[in-house]
Symmetry: C2
DNA sequence: CTGTTAGCGCATTCAC
DNA sequence: GTGAATGCGCTAACAG
């Protein structure tokens, strides 16, 4: 039987209230008494039963997610997954709320963070914009006692408690490696379609891609990055122009959003072009099936949301997280290992995690 | 505030004990009374707080895992992950035990299942052997009220509550698709190294591989399956013979264990052979880095163990599982997206195994 | 058949 | 500074 507060109270010769005070680091205990209790905790190997503690406290965890507005399908999928997780709130004692702010707008993000913190939530999950003022706002949140995780896009300089997302350099390297192998000996340049080089994860993906493709394979020209602003129309136009300019174009790596435009552009081409894209959506899924896209690298929004919730609760309670469980995987989808589309899928399918 | 038992007791005009009786489907309640209570539960939207219930019951979940003996590194990794999960037992109220039985020995497995069931555990996780008597034993367990999940290798005919593992047909298809693309136009036959065709997951992988490779690519000869019994020595020998017999061998798909032997054999070859294998171990990892293996398909044993525990607890409590969370992924590793080696990783003794 | 009561392990008033 | 008492939501004797 696990030791309880009663056991350590008896063992230390004090009352439950005193034990509770030292457990929760509250004042009103003499140093000697405290040490006696801590000794008892140590020798009995006491670990507090969080379930019972939460029951007694009627604890709920108000958690705030701050994500970009706009029609980026991945972000909307993320929002949908937050809503799904919200269905379980009564069970896991959370209360989830979502704040949306214009994408890439650090001022708006800072304001949202400060506003969220003023309600002293149990935790904050932020899709970070890579800017110093954002880092400062996150630091403020933390020093106000609010645990913060960055979501999808990291900002290590902020001192956030945890990053929930994939290793984007590794993702880029994987894309580069797949591209190199898929192309085999076939000549011709490779194009890269990004959203914006102002975004950290896009920069990292490009970096990894370039490194892997130039390191492990025969020399190949990587054309200047096409910045499609994650906008399907613009992406389509840029890709079409690029195809015209390079009649021997061998491959395209799309590392951001706006893939519906990309697909339209390449399906108009009569020649085979190897294409690797990010995020499984209804568009990339059907393009994959049709053979227009060869591989899709993916991060599971559902897993990310659940992971953020678990981590924030753990941080709020000051307990350790299961690292292995919180590692977000880079999923690689070919037409042959597509997960089934599920009834609950909003528009961005899948969901599986740990 | 969520409604509690008090609320429904008041609303139904009965006592707590009666509410508890209908909640737990215990006898001693008149049909009319029961219906009143159920109506109250329905209208108030009551959901029982499992944490509080478990606290009151001092509930623990004795869970039994039955896995093969032998030096199959994946199985040993699985066992290690069970031990890791056991560290958290005090926290999540489980008590894990492991029974090992000789691999592919259905009689031994049946006996182990029956023995485990006689202790009436809260749940049973079994690496199933594909045999009718095993299915019968699992069915017995379930009708004795013990929830059963199959682990890694399924046995749908048994009526198990859930399967914890990857979709092996999809895994095979993925391997076939990758093999086809990696080979490009290069001619030459492809070999398949399996453990045994008596095992269901191996059969399924082969089936998927053959289908994908012959369906989506130019015709290619797939040689007769080499059955290496998951034994490194035998695998090495078989592969060496195969290489000698087929000087134009283009690729090898290793869908079982015994990969250290495979690696030894192919590293002795002077010519490039595309290799796709299963399960990331120290051997496959270093072969991947060295370029001897091109891709590794992987299932995360840690995830599988945690998933089995979550599912069995849920089944024991009669509550729903988060399906998305319990789907086990097929991880695809290239040298570029290898996860960092961790303390808990599978480590095999040098020389004699996979 | 149904209700009362006393905990499960912990947190929190309120006295002393 | 410290302790006794009460309750969180639920279960389990034990009465009636």
């Amino acid at each position: 039987m696990r030791p309880t507060v009663h056991d350590i109270a008896a063992s230390a010769g004090v009352s439950l209230a005193t034990v509770d005070r030292v457990l929760n680091r509250r004042p009103g205990v003499r140093a000697v008494t405290r040490e006696k209790v801590e000794a008892a905790i140590e020798t009995l190997g006491y670990v507090r039963d969080m379930a019972a503690a939460n029951l007694a406290k009627s604890r709920v965890y108000p958690l705030v997610f701050i994500i970009p507005t706009g029609d980026n399908p991945f972000m909307r999928g993320l929002e949908a997954e937050i809503a799904v997780a919200g269905l379980r709130s009564p069970v896991d004692r959370t209360r989830l709320s979502v704040l949306t702010v214009p994408a890439f707008d650090s001022a708006a993000l800072v304001e949202a963070i400060d506003r969220a913190v003023s309600d002293v939530p149990a935790g904050l999950a932020v899709v970070a914009v890579d800017a110093p003022e954002v880092a400062a706002a996150i630091a403020r949140a933390r020093s106000a006692g609010v645990p913060v995780v960055t979501l999808v896009s990291d900002l290590a300089a902020s001192g956030r408690d945890h990053f929930v997302g994939i290793d984007n350099i590794a993702a880029g390297r994987t894309a580069g490696s797949l591209m190199g192998r898929f192309l085999g000996g076939r000549p011709g340049p490779v194009a890269v379609l990004a959203g914006s080089m102002l975004v950290r994860d896009h920069r990292e993906r490009l970096q990894g891609f370039t490194a892997a493709l130039s390191q492990d394979f025969e020399p190949r020209v990587i054309l200047d990055v096409l910045e499609g602003q994650d906008d399907p129309m613009l992406a389509e136009e840029l890709v079409a122009i690029c195809c015209k300019a390079h009649s021997d174009l061998a491959g395209i790596y799309s590392l951001g959003a706006g893939n519906s435009g990309l697909v339209t552009a390449i399906s108009a081409q009569g020649r085979p072009i190897r294409v690797i894209a990010h995020e499984l959506t209804s568009h990339t899924r059907s393009a994959l099936k049709a053979g227009l896209i060869d591989a899709v690298l993916h991060q599971d929004a559902g897993h990310e949301v659940r992971s953020a919730i678990r981590v924030l609760k753990a941080k709020a309670d000051g307990v350790a997280v299961i690292e292995a469980q919180e590692r977000i995987r880079i999923d690689i989808f070919l037409k042959d290992n597509l997960p089934l589309e599920q009834a609950g899928d909003v528009r961005e399918p899948i969901g599986r995690d740990d």
